[in-house]
């Protein structure tokens, strides 16, 4: 079903990370999921204060340490060595996940296997028989942050759309995704389905509709109808 599709312009992961970073206002508290989303940290503008949360118990996480300065007590959720910035704070796991579940994070950026046009997210299990399941904090992040951004390629390696009418993989969260950043375009999740917010290069609403097999709303003219980027308020998250 994907073979005859026209592939449009694809931006690199680093470019996509920069697009995401540019949408995060100063002062935001942000959790970056394991994998590609960690690239967003490198793309955050110098001099803006954006506070990174890592669910294993820290706010104010800094970049990787210099060689020889690795501290095994100071790691991120991906179990990589990180550093501490001025203004950091440590806390235990129950407090850390209370922050998420209570709607206190502004943004989280997650990878995905699939996102449905209702905002359902599948990113923790392919459901393959014999696979060893592991969920970690994905389900907490999915339901917790005010804005849940997904960073992903639009198509799988075999050319299938990760944006779908309904997820076939096991769900991580229901109706939780606010926006999807892909290598072809940026999509907001709206009550009318996916709305194309920004199309990269030669991608068009029509070409994206063909790639995804979905009816898409055109929100590329002017600003998105929801200027806040689809962020839920703290009250709504609760």
């Amino acid at each position: 079903m994907s073979a005859q599709r026209t592939a449009g312009t694809r931006i690199s992961r680093d470019e996509l990370a920069a697009v995401i970073a540019a949408d995060i206002p100063e002062g935001s508290i942000v959790n970056l999921g394991i994998g590609a989303p960690t690239l967003v940290a490198n793309a955050l503008p110098e001099g803006l204060e954006i506070i990174l949360h890592t669910e294993n118990g820290m706010l104010g996480m800094g970049p990787a340490p210099e060689p020889g300065r690795i501290d095994p007590d100071l790691i991120n959720a991906g179990k990589q060595a990180v550093t501490e910035l001025p203004g950091a704070a440590y806390f235990h796991h129950a407090d850390s996940f209370a922050m998420m579940r209570g709607g206190h994070l502004d943004v989280c950026v997650l990878g995905a296997f699939q996102v449905s046009e209702h905002g359902d997210l599948a990113n923790w299990s392919t459901g393959a028989p014999g696979a060893i399941p592991a969920v970690g904090g994905a389900m907490d992040l999915a339901i917790g942050a005010k804005s849940v951004y997904v960073m992903t390629d639009l198509l799988t390696k075999t050319g299938e759309s990760k944006l779908v009418a309904s997820c076939s993989y096991p769900l991580t969260g229901v109706g939780c995704v606010t926006r999807v950043y892909t290598d072809h375009a940026v999509f907001d999740v709206t009550p009318d389905g996916f709305a194309v917010r920004q199309a990269f290069g030669d991608n068009t609403i029509d070409s994206l509709a063909e790639l995804t097999g979905l009816a898409l709303v055109d929100a590329t003219q002017g600003s998105s109808p929801d200027a806040s980027g689809g962020a839920r308020t703290k009250e709504e998250v609760r």
Binding site: D73, K79, Y90, F97, M139
Partner: protein, 252 residues
């Protein structure tokens, strides 16, 4: 005089029986009470149920306990990692039972046990297969599932320092599950770098009050700290001195 100090790790774990439920602190390797786990392996208790965020890394610590065949069931959020080969093999062979719990529900269920909460409605996992069979409820327009406490007979955790009353301070992200597991177990055993005199921990900064701690085992300062507990670095992520790591890599 209250003195929760225990002479060594072997004595501290000697009464853990076969079939016990044991919480083990740590997130990956950070905060993992390796010396207590080694003592538990030597002690020989079997048929254990283990509660930990992960299911062991590499071949040491929790992974070694699994490899020794002592664990019947593991309750965790993230068993599959790049270095979880011991668990992976046992699971594929059907030799270990797995209860997979989203990480925040795992933490909150442990806290609930320590806090005397009978059950709580969590929004995490709603509509997913990990919520199947759980009681669901909509409260003020949001969907929740009912989650129950996770208790343990013993908790084995690691902290930076303790006094003889069992007051604890941790270091950086090695704090992770220590404070909540300490509250959720009938008997809590803590390994610490350092035992400090009563009164030398600032009461404002004690993270786990001694009320939650039963036994304290000093095991010595970590290799990335100096004798005063100050960070000096010079190790890899597994805590091995960089020279040793380089030598091993050269040999490999």
């Amino acid at each position: 005089m209250i003195d929760k100090t225990t002479p060594d790790a072997a004595a501290a774990v000697a009464d853990i029986p076969d079939g016990a439920t044991v919480m083990i602190g740590g997130f990956g390797r950070a905060g993992q009470p390796v010396e207590l786990i080694d003592a538990l392996i030597a002690h020989g208790a079997a048929d254990l149920t283990i509660v930990n965020n992960n299911a062991g890394n590499g071949d040491t610590g929790l992974a070694a306990l699994l490899a020794a065949g002592r664990v019947r069931k593991i309750v965790c959020s993230f068993p599959r990692q790049s270095d979880s080969w011991v668990f992976d093999g046992l699971y594929r062979d059907g030799r270990i039972e797995l209860e997979l719990v989203p990480q925040g529900n795992l933490a909150e269920r442990i806290r609930a046990a320590g806090a005397g909460i009978g059950a709580f409605f969590s929004p995490t996992g709603v509509g997913t297969e990990l919520a199947e069979g759980k009681e669901a409820r909509t409260i003020e327009g949001r969907d929740y599932v009912l989650e129950y406490p996770i208790r343990a007979d013993f908790a084995l955790i690691a902290a930076r320092a303790a006094d003889r009353w069992g007051n604890l301070v941790y270091r950086e992200t090695a704090r992770n599950f220590g404070p909540i597991m300490a509250s959720a177990a009938t008997t809590t055993i803590v390994q610490v770098d350092e035992l400090v005199p009563l009164g030398s921990l600032d009461p404002e900064t004690v993270v786990t009050p001694g009320i939650f701690v039963d036994r304290v085992v000093p095991v010595g300062i970590r290799s990335w700290l100096d004798a005063d507990g100050a960070f000096v670095g010079g190790v890899d992520l597994e805590g091995r001195p960089l020279a040793a790591a380089t030598a091993e890599e050269a040999a490999a």
